[in-house]
Symmetry: C2
Subunit: 182 residues, 2 copies
């Protein structure tokens, strides 16, 4: 759960990062940026800010902003009906992205979220800088992280059905609840 | 047909425009930017520069650069086998884009390419600025144009099969021939 105030602050901060990264977004887009805490109520540690630019029945384009030291929890995109699952290409716009996928353990630059080490099982590390990109087939487990400077990145994909995403951490709920401030 | 020299110059110019628009691209990407003259041998008038960032069996992401007063000829994306045809979202990054689609004739700000007026039949005008976007269903005829300042734009789409595109101008050949310089 996040508060309305947290949501507004995170949206403002994300919009500033996205614009500083050189992406022209409208105020309407800035104001509909999704602030996602994955139901864990510790947005600064595990969370992501998502601006969906395109969402049709066939494709999805999102801009993701990660605050410094924020981690997007490990997840994968399962098949849904006749869809084999979301295929996703991630491309870094600004900052350095620490991205984890299946493969040899090369874990070095990133950090595991304290108390949640068992929920981050992929340890093959990609250190990605602006202009770097990686394409993930459906079903591939992955998680990613920003360090000091934060990250702005694109996610280009087939249709996104975020609520169908699967997470290693069983405490996660994809839909963020927003509480009115007292 | 274009010459090798024309191709190199157009690539360099397109890369400069793309970078000036705030998009970080690698030198490898800059050097594989496609310079398309549509077989008309008048690149400055009818043509486009295309950098494909993502091309999978399911989606495609391209950055398009239009030089000042360059026009991309009228075309549409037909069904191919089980694919209903390319669905495309265009989003302007820099410059003002004059975009033409089916609908009421509101033609005002753009110009018709001289001697080719009959090949530009869509006259419903969208004047698009940075952050503006439009989604086209498969099969929708469209063309677009830059004026004084040139345009850099994204094309987010389902799988692109450019050689299957259909054009109003029957003289068009989608594959550009590049001649070695004498």
């Amino acid at each position: 759960m996040i508060t309305r105030k947290q949501q507004e602050q995170a949206r403002r901060r994300a919009a500033e990062m996205i614009r500083a990264a050189g992406i022209h977004i409208t105020d309407i887009e800035a104001n509909r940026t999704e602030v996602v805490d994955f139901g864990l109520s510790r947005l600064e540690h595990e969370g992501v800010q998502v601006l969906t630019l395109v969402q049709t029945e066939r494709i999805s384009v999102k801009v993701l902003a990660l605050f410094p030291n924020q981690t997007e929890p490990e997840h994968w995109h399962p098949p849904v009906g006749s869809d084999p699952g979301k295929e996703e290409t991630v491309r870094v716009i600004s900052g350095t992205l620490y991205f984890y996928v299946p493969g040899e353990n090369t874990f070095k630059e990133g950090f595991l979220v304290k108390g949640k080490e068992h929920c981050y099982t992929m340890r093959h590390e990609l250190v990605m800088r602006p202009g770097d990109q990686v394409t993930l087939a459906p079903g591939v487990r992955h998680w990613f992280q920003a360090r000091e400077e934060g990250v702005v990145m694109y996610s280009f994909s087939t249709i996104a059905r975020d609520v169908m995403d699967r997470f290693t951490d069983k405490d996660i709920v994809r839909t963020t609840r927003v509480a009115d401030d007292k």
